[in-house]
């Protein structure tokens, strides 16, 4: 089958492979820590698991969103924005924001009660969802999540003053959030903000980060 000249099948293959691997790693991290959580009901483990569950769902929604965009380009089937925006972008906004929140909560949970963190996470996620719904732009979501991540880094650093050294785990967490933002860029109408090579590089680094986290999980949560 001949593709229109502006449809890049390699981009589609790369996106598909990346999404499958990212989602697989996120869900594997969630399921491999199930027993550790069920035995202990440890809040830190709960937030950690939830973070990867929601990141997994975010990458599912990101892939579906991308699929609709790429199918539109390939087959000239353009779904009206008012239809596909709420279906894909709003769950994506909610899942990814709450995923970032849970990742932060896994580090700071001793400083707040379960209920407070539940409301803090959901109110933040719904607020960012509301902002992206009103503006109908994924760039506002990007901007809001960037602010959230900067705030999270400051907050987690402030609450961990006793640990002077920046740990590898924190760097990994930061990379998970940062790479999520970079991977979110490609969903915009100006898709060519990154070259194919650069986009592929971000996706490979993302897979590398997930792999490192998963390897640490299976080392201890067996």
């Amino acid at each position: 089958m001949a593709f229109p000249h502006f449809f890049d099948p390699w981009l589609f293959v790369a996106e598909f492979a990346f999404s499958i691997i990212a989602v697989l790693f996120c869900f594997l991290i969630f399921f491999r820590t199930k027993e550790s959580y069920e035995l202990t009901k440890h809040r830190g483990i709960r937030y950690f698991r939830n973070a990867f569950l929601f990141f997994g769902l975010s990458y599912v929604m990101r892939f579906l969103f991308n699929l609709v965009l790429l199918s539109g380009i390939a087959f000239d089937v353009i779904l009206p924005r008012r239809i596909f925006w709420p279906i894909f972008m709003l769950p994506l906004a909610y899942f990814s924001t709450i995923g970032i929140c849970y990742l932060v909560f896994s580090l700071i949970w001793k400083n707040a009660g379960s209920r407070a963190l539940f409301w803090a996470g959901n109110i933040t996620a719904l607020a960012l969802l509301g902002i992206s719904f009103i503006t109908r732009s994924h760039y506002t979501l990007l901007l809001s999540q960037s602010v959230l991540i900067i705030f999270a880094v400051i907050l987690s650093g402030f609450m961990h003053t006793r640990r002077k050294k920046l740990s590898r785990t924190r760097i990994l967490y930061f990379l998970v959030a940062l790479l999520w933002l970079l991977n979110l860029w490609v969903l915009g109408p100006r898709r060519k903000v990154f070259s194919f090579g650069l986009q592929l590089l971000f996706e490979l680094i993302s897979i590398g980060v997930f792999w490192v986290i998963y390897a640490k999980v299976i080392r201890w949560a067996r």
């Binding site: 550790s36 035995l39 202990t40 009901k41 483990i45 896994s106 949970w109 080392r219 201890w220």
Partner: protein, 97 residues
């Protein structure tokens, strides 16, 4: 087995200590010696015991003479088996806050 360390233990560690005491005593110990060896106040012990029983880690059995003993369930043994890994996992990902 000697008294538990006076260092402040976290919740998972206390649970581990209680379960380990039971296991090391041939999986059968009376509540009073358990409380003493675990180095907990009566109130703390009651809370931990309630939690362990509700989670299905331990069960209380009564012998023919009406004496109560605490024993581990399969889940309790599983916790002991997994504790070292779980503690390392929490430490590795800084989940202990």
């Amino acid at each position: 087995m000697g008294q538990m360390s006076m260092r402040k233990r976290d919740r998972l560690e206390v649970i581990y200590d209680i379960l380990k005491i039971i296991r090391d005593r041939h999986n059968s110990v009376r509540p009073t010696p358990l409380l003493r060896i675990a180095n907990l106040s009566s109130q703390s012990f009651a809370e931990y015991f309630g939690e362990l029983a509700s989670k299905g880690f331990v069960k209380e059995i009564t012998d023919k003479k009406g004496r109560k003993y605490i024993t581990l369930t399969d889940k309790g043994f599983r916790y002991l088996e997994k504790y070292a890994y779980i503690a390392s996992f929490i430490d590795e990902f800084e989940l202990g806050a």
